[in-house]
């Protein structure tokens, strides 16, 4: 029942990493936080920023920039953590995704979503649900479950976005 409602939501939360825009289905988003004090966990992969205290629970935080192959930058006023619900091995876990800035919530109809081009894309096709055009900008709709449960980096090529 719950999954059905989530799947039918056409609202997407858009956020920015560097210059590119991405979007996550709001059904997956629980809340948006300011960046608190993050405790780094030693010997963890670089994209795993660390853990934070979310009202008494320990929440792992992933640096989406590094996960997407972008260079690490210092936090700004706009940097925030999107708390998302990720299905991983048929289990729901909650993770925080560190992003450069959160933009807005958009209504994107199914018809407006184009399949992502399999050739020439910087990102592996399985991590994207599709793309959409909005004010001359391309927004990449992410498959949240895949993106945040994968151990690997999302980037296909070694080239970085400049």
């Amino acid at each position: 029942m719950k999954e059905d409602t989530n799947a039918n939501i056409n609202s997407y939360l858009t956020f920015k990493l560097g210059k590119e825009s991405f979007a996550a289905n709001v059904g997956k988003v629980l809340e948006i936080l300011e960046v608190p004090n993050i405790t780094k966990v030693p010997k963890s992969p670089e994209y795993m920023t660390g853990v934070i205290n979310l009202r008494g629970n320990v929440l792992p935080v992933i640096d989406t920039r590094i996960k997407f192959g972008l260079p690490k930058i210092d936090c700004t006023v706009n940097t925030c953590i999107i708390v998302i619900n990720v299905e991983m091995d048929s289990e729901n876990i909650i993770v925080g995704a560190l992003v450069d800035s959160v933009q807005e919530v958009l209504e994107i109809q199914q018809a407006q979503i184009q399949p992502s081009p399999s050739l020439g894309s910087k990102y592996k096709a399985e991590f994207l649900e599709g793309m959409t055009k909005y004010h001359e900008d391309f927004i990449m709709l992410l498959n949240i479950d895949k993106v945040f449960s994968a151990d690997e980096l999302i980037l296909v090529k070694d080239s970085l976005i400049s």
Binding site: T39, V41, P42, K43, I52, N57, P60, I62
Partner: protein, 678 residues
């Protein structure tokens, strides 16, 4: 409905466990009447419950079993070891058919038929003896019977408890000549009738010998039912014409209750009054004992309460930090009292989560019993300190390792009877399972007086399996620890019972998953002692809070031996990763470099000496913050590969501290060193 079924299954498994316990007790001690009573009661409850929930196979099965014990109870059948064996295997069978009520699995079905046959055979023996005894009884005891008045007014909700009052009346008629009058005067108008309520009172007149027999029938009517048993006359009034006529008159009268009273006054022996009063009194006493002393709570609720308490403790720590900065005495006063209450709530809720060790002991007794017969070894199993309490999560995970250890004791440890007498030992071997507290730990000790562990054989075996090199010089302790290596099993032959090579290493791993330790002492020819040391609870640990640059870490207090303060210079001068401390050269791990922290270290640093598998290693940190009661939180799935951190805890200021697993740190460190050396 499902929820009720679940409850039934839960209760049934409790009942079966209770049954198993009593059976084993009977076998060990003498047959005590109260034990037989208990078995009978358990069977009866199980029968009633299962038929109420439609478990026909179970209820039919228990019905026959119950009959046997009913006969034993009445001294019509002797409790033989055969009966106990059959009952024990019945317990196993019942466990499996409770999961498979329709007997869909073929093995269950075959089993069921076999078991039924075995039980019916037993009850046929009982029928024979019964017939014999009955004959005797008839000869001697047809005299001495008397006429009794039995008033039975069932509790209104008797139908809801799965009882049928008519069965009681039926049973009563087995005892002798009965005249029953049903008093329907309490039955309301049809429109007001609740079909689940019992409105009827039965007045019975019976000619029989024994008052206890009558009372026994109503044993299972619950305490709210009203039962009056009164002796009316020593003669068989039911055969007297006048009485019968009076009875018939009473039966058709409109006020049955009153007429019966008159009737009784007319015929009864006056002296009986007193004894019935006494009976009433006894029954009232019994009632007060029935006050509920414990309740059943689902473990989910308890778990939830525990996590709430953990949050409370964390919130309390934050409040303490805030109060330290205020000068308002009133605020600090309140904080202090809240702190006290919090601590008490914490201790209280922890104690709720504790269950006595006893709850799993039955399984062990059963294993020893079955195995010793199978291996033909004479073994006495003694348990001590079974009231020692442990966290329920630990208890649940403790049963498998202990079962394995006990199997090893029996299979490898205890010798056969002949071997033992040849060695001048008592023919009967002893296995002692003992639980006791030491500080904030619970120890579980398993001692056998068998042949002990053969050091040379263990070493040879380890060499064969390439677990150690031939030249290795090992102390006895080190040799014993070889047993815990994966892939080590000394049994020459793989037996069904033990020796599949997945033995002690799994035990050790399961115990260390519970943050416990295993210690093994063995004297050849004398026996082996294995001690499992466990924390009292899994969710809170006493730790030392330390800091490396900005990150806080917690080291469990249990592993810490000593702390030293050293300068950066002293560490840099260290040669070959060894530091001279306390006149000894000690290995150390600089956690700052180990955790890839590149900031400059402070001038003064702390070395915390921790012990791990009999080794002592120093861990270098920036500073010691203090002792801290850490509420453990899991790091979650994303960090499952980070073994050196066993969890996290939230500090008073809201930041997260990481709990270090020192054993894993040392292991990982020495592994990485070895790779460099190669």
């Amino acid at each position: 409905m499902d929820q009720f079924r679940r409850k039934f299954l839960e209760e049934a498994s409790d009942l079966l466990e209770q049954l198993e316990k009593v059976l084993l007790k009977i076998e060990k001690e003498d047959i005590v009447a109260s034990h037989v009573e208990e078995i009978f009661r358990v069977m009866h409850t199980l029968k009633g419950n299962s038929s109420m929930f439609g478990y026909e196979a179970v209820s039919e099965f228990t019905h026959y079993l119950e009959n046997i014990y009913d006969d034993i109870r009445k001294d019509e059948l002797e409790l033989s070891s055969q009966i106990i064996s059959v009952t024990l295997s019945s317990v196993d069978h019942l466990r499996s058919i409770l999961k498979d009520e329709k007997l869909e699995i073929t093995s269950n079905k075959v089993n069921h038929e076999n078991m039924m046959k075995a039980i019916k055979m037993l009850s046929s023996i009982s029928n024979d003896t019964k017939a014999l005894k009955e004959e005797l009884k008839d000869n001697t005891n047809s005299e001495g019977a008397s006429t009794w008045y039995v008033k039975f007014k069932p509790a209104k909700d008797i139908h809801r408890t799965g009882n049928n009052p008519l069965y009681f009346i039926d049973d009563l008629s087995q005892l002798g000549n009965v005249f029953t009058i049903a008093d329907l005067s309490d039955v309301p108008e049809l429109t007001e009738i609740d079909p689940q309520t019992c409105y009827i009172t039965w007045h019975n007149f019976i000619y029989t010998k024994n008052e206890d027999d009558i009372r026994d029938i109503f044993l299972f009517a619950d305490a709210q039912s009203e039962l009056v048993v009164e002796k009316i006359s020593d003669k068989d009034l039911l055969n007297s014409l006048k009485f019968s006529e009076d009875l018939k008159e009473t039966a058709i009268s409109n006020t049955i209750g009153l007429s019966i009273k008159n009737l009784l006054d007319k015929y009864s022996i006056p002296s009986q009054e007193e004894s019935t009063q006494e009976n009433e009194l006894a029954r009232n006493n019994h009632k007060t004992e029935n006050v509920i002393s414990s309740i059943r709570v689902s473990s989910n609720k308890v778990d939830e309460m525990m996590s709430l308490v953990s949050e409370l403790v964390t919130a309390q720590a934050r409040l303490n930090v805030l109060t330290q900065n205020t000068t308002d005495s009133k605020v600090s006063e309140i904080t202090e009292s809240i702190e006290k209450i919090t601590r008490r709530i914490r201790d209280n809720s922890f104690s709720i989560c504790l269950v006595p060790f006893e709850t799993i002991v039955v399984r062990f007794q059963r294993l020893i019993r079955d195995l010793s017969t199978q291996l033909n070894k004479n073994v006495k199993f003694i348990t001590e300190g079974t009231d020692t309490e442990l966290d329920k999560n630990i208890i649940e995970n403790l049963s498998d390792p202990i079962l394995h250890i006990l199997r090893n004791c029996l299979d490898h440890g205890i010798e056969s009877e002949n071997e033992r007498t040849a060695k001048g030992k008592q023919a009967q071997g002893t296995i002692l399972l003992k639980a006791f507290y030491t500080g904030s730990n619970v120890n579980i000790q398993i001692t056998d007086d068998g042949k002990g562990i053969d050091f040379t054989r263990v070493k040879k075996k380890a060499e064969e399996k390439n677990l150690i090199s031939k030249e290795a010089q090992l102390s006895e302790k080190e040799i014993l620890n070889l047993i815990f290596l994966p892939g080590f099993s000394t049994a020459e032959k793989v037996t069904e019972i033990s020796g599949r090579g997945v033995g002690m290493d799994v035990v050790k791993r399961q115990i260390s998953d519970l943050r416990g330790e295993v210690d093994l002492i063995s004297v050849p020819g004398k026996g082996t002692t294995l001690t499992i040391k466990l924390p009292l609870t899994l969710s809170i640990i006493d730790g030392l809070l330390v800091r490396i640059s900005d990150t806080h870490y917690i080291i469990p207090l249990g592993v810490i031996e000593k702390c030293h303060e050293v300068t950066q210079e002293f560490i840099e001068e260290a040669f070959d990763d060894l530091l001279a401390l306390d006149g000894e050269r000690q290995p150390f791990i600089n956690l700052r470099t180990e955790f890839c922290d590149t900031s400059t270290p402070p001038f003064l640093q702390q070395i915390i000496m921790v012990k791990s598998d009999d080794k002592k290693v120093g861990l270098i940190v920036d500073a010691i913050v203090g002792q801290y009661q850490a509420v453990l939180k899991p790091l979650g799935k994303l960090y499952k590969n980070i073994e050196i951190i066993s969890g996290a805890s939230i500090l008073g200021d809201g930041t997260v501290a990481l709990v270090l697993d020192t054993n894993k740190i040392i292991k990982e460190y020495s592994n990485s060193k070895m790779i460099i050396a190669i």
